[in-house]
């Protein structure tokens, strides 16, 4: 495997890029196979040891395959049955898999999966709403579960879950949820951290920008300041990092890319170079994407690789929605319209 041509630092000159562009293609069928097999590896060590996030793992796989138009390769029925078994009869929240406890993170993943399969009627949606509502705190923030961890990730999960269930109105205190997220906004760079005062981080910026997009509050952002910080995440390899002076990563590439797209500032980075970076993170043998060129692939980075390429307009891929990281046609079917800015 020779990735050297893609890790070569560039000063951003546009002349020689087209050669690379044509030599690196999306290994479409290898990725399909990778994702399809992922769910069949009950005895795989990695698979077993990551059961604590299984629900999200399924969401990553289902979404990536749907974006590739290959959703029928997974068994819809058994996945829905699995999701149903993971709904906690007491709290209404979802656990990552049987035997584990419910959590906001897996509740969103479960609802996303069911939306994609158009199967929300299979579960007790009101119980999910109650679970999410019950985790909101007086300051507007959300606990991840009853054990009290607070993080802007959970704010996003809460609002996204309720949006997908069409229950954002009249359930939580949206105004307070927004206020808490804005209290996590940093004056220095316009970005967001996990809690008030926390350093800006691309993943959490995605969560907060996403929440503002779902609540139609994007006007609260300092778009010029935040957009600049985000476009500065692009490194000479074309990949994006999550914080200054860090290494590029396919998942951060998604978080920055989707935030910039929501903010109408996608043209502040080089799409072409980013596409090259993402393609360089494909595993040409097994399929799947890794975090960085030459590393081990996993299902998480595979979704964000495919999702990133979709946002960049790669052919043969369905359009992905930048706010909810789900196929756009599903979002349209649900009649949801996350806010997006255009350049002023």
């Amino acid at each position: 495997m020779d990735f050297t041509t893609f890790v070569k630092p560039s000063n951003g000159g546009a002349s020689s890029e087209n050669e690379n562009e044509t030599t690196k293609k999306l290994e479409f069928w290898k990725h399909v196979e990778y994702i399809e097999n992922h769910g069949k590896q009950e005895d795989d060590y990695e698979y077993c040891m990551t059961e604590f996030l299984r629900m999200s793992g399924i969401y990553w796989g289902v979404t990536a395959l749907d974006i590739m138009g290959q959703l029928d390769r997974l068994d819809r029925k058994s996945i829905i049955e699995f999701v149903k078994r993971c709904q906690c009869p007491n709290s209404g929240g979802f656990s990552p898999c049987e035997g584990h406890d419910p959590h906001m993170l897996y509740t969103l993943s479960a609802v996303q999966i069911l939306c994609t399969y158009d199967a929300l009627d299979e579960i007790d949606c009101e119980a999910v709403v109650r679970y999410v509502v019950g985790l909101q705190q007086p300051d507007g923030s959300f606990f991840g579960d009853k054990w009290g961890e607070v993080d802007t990730r959970f704010s996003f999960c809460a609002v996204a879950t309720l949006t997908l269930l069409q229950r954002l109105e009249g359930s939580i205190d949206v105004e307070k949820a927004v206020k808490f997220v804005m209290s996590c906004c940093n004056q220095t760079d316009g970005g967001f951290g996990s809690k008030p005062g926390a350093e800006s981080h691309a993943g959490l910026i995605y969560c907060c920008v996403g929440l503002l997009s779902l609540t139609q509050r994007l006007h609260l952002l300092d778009v010029d300041k935040l957009g600049w910080w985000l476009c500065e995440r692009q490194l000479p390899t074309g990949g994006l990092n999550g914080r200054p002076e860090k290494l590029p990563d396919v998942c951060y590439s998604w978080w920055v890319l989707s935030s910039l797209t929501i903010m109408g500032r996608l043209h502040w980075i080089s799409s072409e170079k980013l596409q090259q970076f993402i393609l360089s993170c494909q595993d040409l043998e097994t399929g799947g994407f890794s975090d960085r060129t030459g590393n081990m692939p996993d299902i998480f980075h595979t979704l964000f690789g495919i999702g990133g390429l979709s946002l960049l307009g790669h052919s043969n891929l369905k359009l992905i929605n930048p706010t909810l990281c789900m196929p756009q046609y599903i979002i349209d079917r649900l009649g949801i319209k996350p806010q997006r800015l255009t350049l002023a």
Binding site: G12, Y45, M49, C231, D291
Partner: protein, 499 residues
């Protein structure tokens, strides 16, 4: 999964690894099954606690296993507290009653037995908390970025009224030595500082030390940016901190930036210092306003979702008209309009009032409407000391550019310094830097183009009131369909393309 390099291995190695993994997997499954069984049977005992230790040490991200530990801890604490209540009533016998529970704690050993005396309930409680803290520390060694382990540590300390916050501060110092960019540690540090009431000046000194060790530390600059506005507040709110401190910070950050001009951390901080302070809390500001007998248009500097709270009214002498039922005039919600019926007499003086602010209106000669306009960029007041510092920094940047004409950060920062000193005087020169940046930093070409459009529009709007055609005609300096600051143009009758 991050940072796992794909390595070629021999067939033999692969086989060996596979066998090892099968054993590990078996052990994991057996432990999880046992755990779940005991938990559902309500056996929240020491055996259950010790079962979790191995699992968490291998993988601190299994949230449910931490939950089980917390259930066990709560149970033990409740039992001890119950016995404490009894102890308070008659201390002699009660501690002995619960001896089995306390001493049965396998994870912690039996150290109190050595001196022969029985531990008090409080000692036993503290021992429970210490066990949790020790375990999280072991887990953080395995994965210093484990959300679950950090949270469990916070949770444990929250349970303990006698938590030793000083010790936690030392832990932060230690961890920041291993990794000075771990945002979990920084977050935890802020949490601990609040709990331990660490003076902000002490934290600022800590930051200064960290930055002196390594300038390339965005986390530390960030921490600093939280402290300075509180320690050295700026009364006018037009700068992030007092002018005196700002000057000192500018000196410090410039030294850092010049030490390694390719490191972005200090340059980001520098740009913040050069900015205009507390934008987030900024109250809505009127950019332009125009009022006819039948309608009014309002332009705000920044987007506003709801005008009804602004209590807008038109006044003239004793008279006042409420301006209500505003509808957005653009997608960004910076431009609004409303309909009304007000007889306007051009010979009278009118003002627009909004939340206690008063804006004097002028008469538009063409249609006798009344209007207000203020350009988007006002020159910030600047003491002569600060101005001298900015000029000396600009000179240093220009000197550096002599040797390294393509230095991206120097090009950008010198343009920003020029605009901080005098955006009008340096307009052409700062734009020239942006054009150069489009070449040397081609990844962000689109950003520099947009920034140039903004600056060009800012210049045109600043000059406009002096033009003979003001306010009837505005000459648009840009050729793009969408224009930044377009809401400011509501006072013009005609917007035409400049030559």
């Amino acid at each position: 999964m991050h940072g796992r390099v794909k390595v070629r291995t021999t067939e033999e190695e692969r086989e060996r690894k596979k066998k090892e993994q099968v054993l590990k997997m078996r052990a994991y499954r057996a432990a999880m099954t046992r755990l779940q069984k005991k938990r559902s049977a309500g056996e929240l005992d020491d055996e259950l606690l010790s079962l979790t230790v191995n699992l968490l040490q291998r993988n601190p991200d299994i949230g449910t296993v931490w939950n089980i530990r917390r259930e066990c801890v709560l149970m033990k604490v409740a039992q001890l507290q119950e016995s404490k209540e009894k102890e308070d009533q008659g201390p002699a016998t009660i501690a002995g009653e619960h001896k089995d529970e306390g001493d049965g704690d396998k994870a912690d050993g039996d150290r109190e037995k050595v001196d022969g005396s029985k531990p008090t309930v409080e000692q036993q409680l503290q021992r429970i908390y210490t066990t949790e803290l020790d375990l999280t520390e072991q887990c953080l060694m395995v994965n210093p970025k484990s959300y679950c382990a950090w949270h469990h540590r916070c949770w444990t300390l929250e349970q303990n009224p006698l938590a030793d916050w000083e010790r936690e501060l030392f832990l932060c110092n230690k961890y920041l030595k291993y990794d000075e960019r771990n945002f979990h540690t920084w977050d935890y540090r802020r949490y601990v500082c609040a709990k331990a009431a660490v003076p902000q000046q002490q934290e600022l000194d800590f930051c200064t030390d960290k930055i002196k060790v390594n300038f390339s530390n965005y986390s530390s600059w960030h921490h600093r940016s939280l402290l300075l506005p509180q320690l050295y507040p700026n009364e006018q709110q037009d700068r992030p901190m007092s002018e005196h401190k700002l000057k000192e910070e500018l000196e410090m950050v410039m030294t850092a930036a010049f030490t390694d001009p390719n490191d972005s951390s200090a340059w980001f901080y520098q740009r913040w210092l050069l900015g205009s302070g507390a934008q987030l809390d900024e109250k809505p500001t009127v950019a332009a306003f125009r009022c006819w007998p039948q309608k009014a248009q309002l332009a705000l500097k920044k987007p506003c979702a709801d005008l009804s709270q602004l209590k807008l009214q038109l006044t003239s002498g004793e008279q006042a008209w409420q301006l209500e039922s505003w509808t957005p005039g653009n997608e960004e919600k910076t431009q609004w309009q409303c309909n009304h019926s007000i007889e306007i007499n051009a010979s009278l003086e009118y003002a627009l009032e909004m939340q206690g602010q008063r804006f004097k209106l002028a008469v538009q000669p063409s249609d006798k409407s009344i209007y207000y306009f203020v350009p988007p960029v006002a020159a910030a007041s600047c003491s002569s000391e600060l101005l001298a510092e900015l000029q000396s920094q600009l000179q240093s940047c220009c000197d550096l550019l002599e040797y390294e004409p393509d230095s991206k950060w120097t090009l950008l920062t010198s343009a920003l310094l020029m605009r901080a000193i005098d955006p009008m005087q340096y307009h052409e020169q700062s734009l020239a830097n942006l054009i150069k940046l489009q070449q040397v930093d081609a990844l962000r070409k689109g950003y520099y183009e947009d920034l140039a459009r903004r600056w060009t529009m800012e210049e045109a709007l600043t000059k406009w009131p002096e033009s003979a055609q003001f306010p009837q005609v505005f000459e648009l300096p840009l050729k793009t369909p969408k224009t930044p600051y377009s809401q400011y143009l509501i006072v013009a009758d005609t917007v035409q393309q400049a030559e």
